[in-house]
């Protein structure tokens, strides 16, 4: 998709929250949704299973208003974490301007995190996108859980962040790190403008 449209003077950023099931992707969006004034947000579309797992995807449009004469819109998506929804994940990933990988900090979810990360890489590659060229940040969610249940931020970095991208500790349920993560990925995405890579 076109990130900056000089003709219509619009900026649209598509940010996808990716990660294993139950890592807290929808919680992130829900927290953002709750903090955004009504005038700035669209309707959050969330298709969930009966057990509140995301069935299809979450979609949260944010209208950030006119910035430098450009109508600036953010579109936040989540993907279904469960592995059997891979087709949906691929669909959502299409045209993504940036990805937030929400990892579950619980030690027992270590393999799920790795598997999801690998899946992200595969899906991007299937679309001809090199993950190294795409703005990506990590959020290690559930850092509020007891220490003996989770891996620390450093340990999570060691396990997942081998490309040394930005990473944030988080407690999406209570909002810790949610906006920092969103700000981080937004800035990375917007800075791609400088390179003119997506100017249209």
């Amino acid at each position: 998709m076109s990130l900056v449209n000089f003709t219509s003077r619009e900026i649209t950023c598509k940010i996808v929250y990716y990660g294993p099931g139950r890592s807290g992707k929808t919680t992130n969006l829900q927290y953002v949704y709750d903090r955004v004034p009504e005038s700035r947000r669209g309707r959050m579309v969330s298709l969930a299973t009966q057990t509140d797992r995301t069935l299809f995807f979450d979609f949260l449009p944010l209208e950030l208003g006119s910035i430098s004469g450009f109508a600036t819109k953010f579109q936040l998506y989540t993907v279904p974490g469960q592995s059997y929804y891979n087709a949906t994940r691929k669909l959502v990933l299409q045209g993504a301007d940036g990805v937030v990988f929400v990892a579950d900090s619980q030690a027992r979810r270590f393999d799920d995190n790795l598997e999801s990360l690998q899946n992200l890489q595969d899906n991007l590659l299937a679309q001809g996108v090199d993950i190294r060229q795409l703005p990506v940040v990590f959020q290690y969610n559930k850092q509020d859980l007891p220490r003996d249940l989770i891996l620390t931020h450093e340990e999570m970095d060691d396990a997942l962040n081998f490309r040394a991208v930005q990473s944030y500790g988080g407690d999406a349920l209570h909002g810790t790190g949610v906006f920092e993560t969103l700000r981080g990925i937004s800035e990375l995405v917007l800075k791609r403008l400088a390179a003119g890579a997506v100017a249209g």
Binding site: V4, F6, I11, V32, R35, V36, P37, R40, L64, G65, I67, S68, G69, F70, T72, Q143, H153, E154, D157, N161, A164, V165, Q166, S167, Y168, G169, G170, D171, H174, G175, T176, G177, V178, F179, E180, L182, R183, G184, S186, E187, L190, K191, L193, A194, G196
Partner: protein
Amino acid sequence: MTVTLNPLYRFDTFVVGSANRLAVTAAKAVAESPGTVYNPLFIYARPGLGKTHLLMGVGHAARAIDPNLHVEYLTLDEFVEAFHAALAAGQGEAYRKRFLDVDLLLVDDVQFLTHRREMQAELLRLTDALQTTNRQIVLTSDRPPAEIEALDERLIRRFAGGLIIDVAAPDYETRVAILRRKAEERRASFADGVLEAIGGLPIDNVRELLGALNRMVAHQAVSERPLNPEQARMLIGGTARPGDRASAEGDTANGGVQDPSHARPVRSELPRPSVQRSAGPTVPPSNPPTADEFSDFLSEIHATVAQQVDAWRAQIGAAVMRWEGEGYRTARLQKLLEQDAVPDVMRELDDFERDIQRLRDMETQTAELAADLVGAPAFRDPADLAAAESLLARAREGAVPPAAPSPLWRLADWTEGPSAKVALEASRTVVQEPGARYNPLVIVGGTGAGKTHLLHALGNAMAERCGVPVACLSAPEYSGELIAAIDRDAVGIWRSRYRRVSAFLLDDVHLIADTDRTQDELFLLYNVLLESGRQMIFTSAVPLAELQGLEPRLRTRLEAGLVVELPAPDREVREAVARRELGSKGAEPDAALVEFFAARPAESVRVVLAQVHRVLNAAEARQSPPGVALAREVLDGIPPAPAPEPPAAQSRRPGAHRLSGIVAPTAGGARSREKMVWDWPDVADRVIEDWR
């Protein structure tokens, strides 16, 4: 603008004596630790005592210690010239800033600050600024600050706040040491006692001393025997003037040392960019969310978007800052910033840069033609290339080469006699090694001695050897060109013509006496040509020591080369000239007539020529061959004898008597040949200047 440091002007080539020891010590201290000991250091001395040498020595030594040190040397004239050029180009501020980056500023000849209040204010400002940042300034003058007429009191105080020190005339020992060192550099050896004899002469100017040495080298080169002390004294004694030695000793009052405790100000560091959770390892868990996280987020995104979306404006803004910083007008780019539509930024910037490059190319070409036009506003506006092209065209128009030597005069035609041997030998050396041995060469001789012939002949020889353009013109022509250039407001173009020459030959330099502006220009040109090793030759009908109305700085520079005399033609020259001219008609010249002319004293070759041609014309009119009798009749008014006389009677004719060996007729009164003007083109126009 800035002259590079002369590689020969170093401390190790400076002969230190009691008269300059203090100044050298201070200069070395400053070079070793610029900005911390004596700041400013003000050195004054009469012309020719080594101020410039010492000043450049500071620059060399400081640079040897710290090669990264930014050292600038310039004369006050250049300082003024560049400032005016900068003001004309609207770059006054850039000019000031340029000097603020200099770690060691060396300014020569500040005595010319006299009555230049604007430049005094600039220098004051600059001195303050340099002192504030503990950057060093060293100045030289031919007089102490207090004696520089109409010098701002504040500047005097600033100079006094550092160290004011003089260089006195060298004492005997120093003079001998200088002579020995320079003789060694020239690989010239002299008999024992020669250099001591010259050192004993009252020459208190180093340039004159070097001129004397050059003269001895030149004489010794054409002599079979080396000079002995007495001959050397006789040879040089004529040029040595009683020294007007200034009471230099003890004039080092007011010296002071700036408080060295002033440390360089610590350069303030830019604030580090706020640390983001940038690429990198770990980020600790965030703080608990604030109340209005979305507003905070929005605010930051707003800034980021504004920054990124307006990237093209930022790009153009950066280009505007860059080019303005380099002194170019950027109205064209600024106009882009005002429009809403996004331009093709890369193309616009490329076009702009291409036009700047075009301006630079034109400015470079112009610099070669007219250095003063460098920095002209037309070369700073990419929106108006036509103006720059017009200026370049104007420079090209004015870039016609200066007057060349007359091709009629060749060195081969020069009639050589023993009395002109030194001058000719020096001249040949100059042709062989232009700019290397005797620079400048000054030829002194009376009217008609052949100076102009020799000058043009040398010009032609050098043009063949070192290439054109060789400038060869008379001082009045040079002065007249300057006046015309001033009138046309094209001094820069005119000046550049001469700065491009491969050699500069000026006839009758004595005629620029009392012409201040011409002397200023000649002084500047001299420095430029000497610096670049290009030969200069001057002729003068007046010995330099007797020349009134010539600025000391110019006179000492002329004396710093080799001054040779072109005496009245001796017998050999007269004989050769007569033989050549009499033989020019095709017939074998009458030996008696040749001898007649050879024996006949004449103050110049021109007189010999005139006499020979008078006799030839008379012979032609009478349709008889030229002979001694006819010559006597024509030249001395002695009628031919009616009949052969006895040999005894031939030796003396009644009614005629000799005056100082010159036969003069009694009829019409005694006439002296020296008092008569013979060389008018027509007999009818001959004017008898005086009657005895």
